[in-house]
Symmetry: C2
Subunit: 458 residues, 2 copies
């Protein structure tokens, strides 16, 4: 029903669409466990193609797993028995850029870097820089409720979405009306943002963009303790100041993020990037005043400049540890990003202790601050296990305990990596009776249950 | 099933809960038309009470119309045959204020002014100042997706909501987890914000608050033409500058808002209020530079200071026109707030022309600017009709034509007044296939159809 070359059953293609970058999937890839492969990879070229596929899928009760960059880390793109992978990366066009309204409309399969580079060529920026920007897609960002490294200034992806095009199971195309704001009923776009492909397929989005900043500077500060730095971060955001990046590493995470021991400070490290225009100088000065009053010791801009250049190297390191034996044959690494209200110290202590009782190394940084709280991003590494089975057992125990600790401290179990399969067992605890609302919505919009079954526990 | 005094069938009580401040309802009040009265007014004292009522209502198939301040202007609180008015104003407590996380948790029935005054007494502000603040409730703000006069700095109500408590038909209590941000599935709170009581009853909300601003100043500028002023407004918000108020009146609306002809300028008027802290001076200077470069003529702060003091007098004037014959026996007034992407000039011209072909006076101001567009707030007055029947006919024609003009210009039919009954006939045109999504959600969450039937066309 589609054009030439839209359907593939090539074994390598199927294998490349069997899972995403979930650590557990990579562990199994390493141990040679057989994966459930999709029955086919389907590559629509248009919204109409997606509509045709979803109508057919509903009629034939075929499970559909939407697939973008495959860079998720929670198993949200994992194939299930008899499913098709709906790979939207042929739908990669920028449809329009509106310089009056400062918006861009693009197809869901466009790569994040391609989109940002195109905008920067026009003197604009989306300002959305997830660590995965080189390997993830706009549709994936919408599906997973993404947040980028500059969220303190530019907001989360959901704050940028003005309008969405979504294809429902059955093939109906829904287009929300792009508006700066509206009170015409609930915001239906928000129902699909974070739905991880369980309610429909995002095919297009209209996003707010900004003029590219004219002033970009950096700064770094040392703090004796992480908690002291956290207070500085909180004071800055609660004064409604908006550094592009304000990332605070604890003593262990400094060692993970900055390999050169001579370069990194003792204690906790605050990395700052400032972007701005007319009031950039005043804002930078105000931020530095608060940080210094809170005990930060100025380290100059160099550390932060190097951090910005190398910030996404961790993606490669992750692959080396998981697939190339960088830390030995039975090592593994994963990350967990939770969020809670200020002061967030109970959340920090609780999750760190829970992970630390299973993993060999646990580092944490406050990555995305808000006036009301922060994201705490933990990196945890298993090195000394005797084999992959032992790693997996410790891995599962670490996640279970860390999620319990998160909920006990009043936090949310995911800030921007999403739920997928990894966190699905705990979503009912996270949402309470809200999970029944979500299930009711799922049944209403996807009565045949074809959309990404099992993800979000749906 | 509730405590003493929770149910009233007193005729005056029923009459006071028969409708809100929708102009059409007031026209009928004036002409002595009989209203549909609620069968009873029910005043729960707690979330548990609301749960008891909704369980009973679902079992008995009794329509429930949630009622707060009754200050809506779109008929969202209008009684229907056999309905009860669920008046939540006994649930008016502030439950907690968190100075670390800068949040407040309050019950839905609290008055807007009471909430803001309490926060200001603690050195905080919510920053949400709808014109109705003295007569509206927190629950109504949530239900109608409200925006306040300072939204350019503090955001819309939906941006302030961190967590909601909602009772579903049947009595289930849903509490979303207050978090600074989350990716644990779609944001379920957003499903109820703007649902106008059609999906459940909001009983409690946790909101972001801020330290009260230390610096408050004002400014006013004259522009030769409205379009020229619009460009100045756009440039300010697209530079990510955030005046608390930036309101631009067209030549007619200046006369409506400023009765003293000696005081007001010829042409278009821009009213500014600045609120800030550490970088307040730099931000005010940057805003003034842009406004002056765009052709604004500085009028000094006095006009804006007086505007701030008297900005809500229009509520009283509205009542005088509608109920006391201020402009003659067969006069009427209403307001229409639409929003569209920049440059918004087609939207302005189109709606003004549509309203002007039926009403005697049409004024407009840009009330709530965003980087991507603005709200255009029209006031339209009928003076010369021969009787109330003629007013009503012109009124209906004006709305129909103005909404058509809004949709034709790509705008949204309501920015913050909501849909209610007034705009329900056009919600399918506004939402397209999204209206079917909304209907499916409604059927899923309220299978018995008891929640505020008919509102939003549901």
């Amino acid at each position: 029903m589609l054009g030439e070359g839209a359907v593939s059953t090539d074994p390598a293609d199927l294998a490349a669409h069997a899972h995403d970058w979930w650590t557990l999937a990579l562990l199994r890839q390493r141990t040679g466990d057989t994966f459930t492969l999709p029955a086919a990879v389907v590559r629509p070229a248009s919204t109409e193609d997606v509509s045709v596929v979803l109508r057919w899928a509903q009629e034939t009760r075929t499970p559909v797993v939407p697939f973008g960059g495959g860079s998720g880390v929670s198993g949200g793109a994992q194939a299930i028995e008899g499913s098709i992978a709906l790979d939207v990366t042929r739908m990669d066009q920028i449809i329009s850029v509106d310089h009056d309204a400062l918006t861009v409309t693009a197809q869901a399969g466009i790569g994040g870097r391609t989109l940002e580079d195109d905008l920067e060529g026009r003197g604009l920026t989306l300002g959305h820089f997830p660590q995965s920007i080189d390997i993830s897609t706009l549709g994936g960002w919408v599906a997973a409720r993404s947040a980028g490294q500059k969220s303190a200034r530019y907001g989360r992806l959901e704050d940028m979405v003005l309008g969405l095009e979504v294809v429902l199971p059955g093939g109906t195309v829904v287009r929300t009306r792009p508006a700066p704001a509206s009170a015409a009923g609930p915001d239906l776009a928000r129902l699909f943002i974070g739905s991880e492909g369980t309610l429909g397929v995002v095919t297009e989005a209209t996003l707010a963009v900004r003029p590219a900043p004219r002033v970009v500077t950096h700064g770094a500060y040392a703090f004796a303790a992480f908690e002291e730095g956290l207070l500085a971060v909180r004071r800055v955001v609660q004064e409604e100041l908006h550094p592009a990046v304000m990332r605070l590493y604890d003593e262990t995470d400094v060692g993970i993020a900055f390999r050169d021991a001579a370069e990194r400070p003792d204690g906790s490290l605050l990395v700052l990037r400032f972007e701005g225009d007319a009031i950039a100088d005043a804002e930078e000065r105000a931020i530095r005043d608060i940080v210094e009053a809170a005990g930060g010791k100025d380290l100059g801009p160099g550390l932060a400049e190097r951090w910005w250049e190398h910030r996404n190297d961790a993606v490669g390191t992750f692959r080396q540890i998981m697939l190339d034996g960088l830390l030995g044959p039975a090592a593994a690494v994963d990350t967990m990003e939770v969020a809670g209200l200020w002061p967030s110290t109970d959340l920090y202590e609780g999750v760190r202790a829970a992970l630390g009782s299973h993993a060999d190394v646990v580092g944490c940084h406050s990555s995305h601050p808000y006036p009301q709280g922060t994201c705490l991003y933990f990196t945890f590494v298993f090195i000394g296990a005797k084999d992959d089975a032992a790693v997996e057992a410790r891995y599962r125990a670490a996640w279970a305990d860390a999620i319990s600790a998160t909920l006990a401290a009043g936090g949310t179990i995911t800030h921007h990596h999403g739920v997928g399969l990894l966190k699905a067992p705990w979503l009912p605890a996270e949402l309470g009776a809200g999970f029944e609302v979500l299930r009711a919505v799922k049944r209403a919009l996807d009565p045949a249950g074809i959309m990404n079954p099992g993800k979000l526990g749906l």
